[in-house]
């Protein structure tokens, strides 16, 4: 019996270590963002803050176009997510449920894109976007993000559609519904859980992406949030308070989203891998 209790204690020590490991950096960012400068720049910072100062949060919005950066990220990530779901769900439906030649070829093409190193197409994509006058525009980021998130979306959704009973389409056909009608009215509503999961993954990817955003948006008024934060560091000073405040501002909504939708997100993340 004693032996069992001891094991239980060790187990819970392990649990605490895991919790601290995963949460401490975020906790530390929150704490740093609300410290008065004198305490922020101390060689022995207290692990728990005693004085609070929200000046960093004010500075982020008054000294920088951070509100605009948040708007840019919201527009880009939101549009990419919606368009990716529209384009991806019809393609996934075709792959899962329609008969056509070259299906395997299409699937290989799509999955190949998911293995593309982004940097490999960076230079040429910049030239192409430049020739279409899409540098420093929203579509200049939205279109690349759609392409990068389509593979996972299609893969996950086609698994979803495949599991639906064929009788659904047959019944709709007998009722005189066309292919589009069947897809739109019967199939898509049933796929809402899959759409939510893949939509969240697409949104988080687009919200967080850095390399393309850094390259294709070259004026501060078009920066997305990650690029804006990376530019906070100046030549002489690193405004740590502001960096931490901005980090908390853009991470908080993601953390809330993750806590609300954790089951959906986990389902989306693991769908391709475990089933495939």
């Amino acid at each position: 019996m004693k032996h069992k209790n001891l094991r239980k204690i060790f187990f819970y020590i392990g649990v605490v270590i895991v919790l601290v490991y995963f949460l401490f950096p975020f906790y530390w960012a929150v704490v740093s963002s609300i410290r008065p400068p004198a305490e922020l720049f101390s060689s022995h910072p207290s692990l728990i803050p005693f004085h609070f100062d929200f000046e960093s949060y004010v500075q982020v919005f008054t000294e920088r176009p951070f509100a605009l950066n948040i708007l840019n990220s919201t527009i880009v990530a939101g549009s990419a997510t919606l368009l990716c779901l529209v384009i991806g769900s019809v393609a996934a439906y075709a792959i899962a449920r329609l008969k056509f030649a070259g299906k395997v070829g299409v699937m290989i093409l799509v999955l190949m894109v998911s293995m593309f190193p982004q940097v490999s197409i960076l230079g040429a994509l910049f030239q192409i976007l430049r020739s279409f006058k899409l540098i420093n525009t929203y579509p200049g980021l939205i279109i690349p993000y759609i392409a990068l998130t389509l593979p996972l979306t299609i893969w996950t959704l086609q698994n979803f559609f495949r599991d639906m009973p064929h009788e659904l389409e047959e019944a709709a056909y007998i009722d005189g519904s066309g292919k589009f009608g069947t897809f739109w009215r019967i199939i898509l509503p049933l796929a809402v859980p899959g759409l939510v999961a893949t939509g969240l993954l697409t949104f988080i990817f687009s919200w967080n992406e850095f390399l393309f955003a850094l390259t294709f948006e070259q004026i501060p008024s078009m920066y997305t949030v990650p690029v804006a934060i990376s530019m906070f560091t100046g030549y002489y000073v690193v405004p740590w308070g502001q960096i931490m405040a901005a980090s908390v501002i853009v991470t908080a909504p993601l953390v809330i989203l993750v806590l609300i939708f954790q089951n959906r997100i986990i389902a989306g993340m693991t769908a391709g891998a475990v089933k495939g």
């Binding site: 940097v119 960076l122 949030v225 993601l254 806590l259």
Partner: protein, 301 residues
């Protein structure tokens, strides 16, 4: 299910399939395949990004120059080092935490949610958070190590080759272990309880049960997680760019490539050379991917 050729339900499939597939093909052609072909074309020229009209055809010589470039070879090695360490550590940690979460205990839901937090935080943000914690004057890591008398002087972690790469690897491990945990946990939950009972009846202890029941059952999942993660780690850019910009011998291929294309190759004639590097990175990762797919015998249909 009867699906003959004359079945009206499936008769017009190819027509609709085409309409349903075309948007996807158009987008990936525009964003992936056209730029890839263009990159290869660019790699055959000596040119600068801002002066595309002044290009000189040089054939495949940029590729030869690549392997004569000590910085490229060194960065390839750095990238492999980074990938091996971070994916290796993540896998071990991932299995441990997944085994923990596969047990029923109080706080399990909380731990599972906490695990997702590093995954959801933008990489730029997590790199900044850790850069602050690693700070030599005000960083919490130096402060704790000094309070515990592990070190006498603060360490400038990101300035020395011996500490900078491990520091960067530790950020990647923190950020991507959650992916491993959740994938492996999903694999663990597919193992039927009867297998454990049978092993218990046979008198197997916990260690033996892990190696004879658990591990063989989650090996395919670990394999797939390894593929995803190592292809990802080979492309690492954000963490290195934010934390050191490649200083202290931490430069990886993507960082060197981005710099060659957009800083060095902006007005100097190195854009073509950078494009050759891009193609080479594509080939290295492509070969790795094909090797993995063959090894795992993944079915595509």
């Amino acid at each position: 299910m009867s699906k003959t050729k004359n079945d009206p339900l499936h008769k017009s499939d190819p027509y609709y399939a085409l309409i349903f597939i075309i948007p996807t093909l158009a987008v990936i052609a525009f964003v992936a395949f056209w730029p890839l072909a263009q990159t290869f074309y660019n790699s055959l020229y000596k040119s600068a990004l801002m002066f595309p009209q002044n290009k000189i055809f040089v054939g495949l010589s940029n590729y030869g120059a690549l392997w004569q470039d000590p910085r490229f070879v060194n960065d390839l090695w750095n990238t492999i080092r980074f990938t091996a360490w971070s994916v290796g550590i993540e896998t071990v940690l991932g299995v441990l935490v997944a085994l923990m979460l596969n047990k029923k205990f109080k706080l399990r839901g909380l731990v599972r949610a906490a695990v997702l937090v590093p995954w959801a935080i933008p990489t730029v943000v997590s790199s900044e958070m850790w850069r602050w914690m690693y700070n030599d004057n005000y960083g919490v890591i130096n402060s704790i190590l000094m309070s515990l008398h592990v070190i006498k002087q603060p360490i400038v972690f990101l300035a020395f080759p011996s500490t900078a790469m491990p520091a960067i690897i530790s950020v990647d491990v923190w950020k991507t272990t959650p992916f491993m945990v959740l994938l492996i946990l999903a694999g663990l939950q597919l193992i039927p309880e009867e297998l454990y009972e049978a092993a218990r009846i046979d008198g197997a202890n916990a260690w033996q049960r892990f190696w004879s029941v658990t591990f063989p059952m989650i090996r395919p999942t670990i394999g797939i997680a390894l593929i995803f993660r190592s292809l990802d780690a080979m492309r690492v850019f954000d963490i290195v760019f934010i934390m050191t910009k490649g200083a202290a011998n931490t430069e990886t291929l993507s960082v060197y490539n981005q710099w060659t294309l957009f800083t060095r190759g902006f007005i100097q004639p190195y854009f073509g050379y950078g494009s050759a590097m891009s193609v080479m990175i594509f080939l290295i990762i492509g070969i790795l991917a094909i090797f993995y797919v063959k090894m795992m015998k993944i079915r595509l249909d």
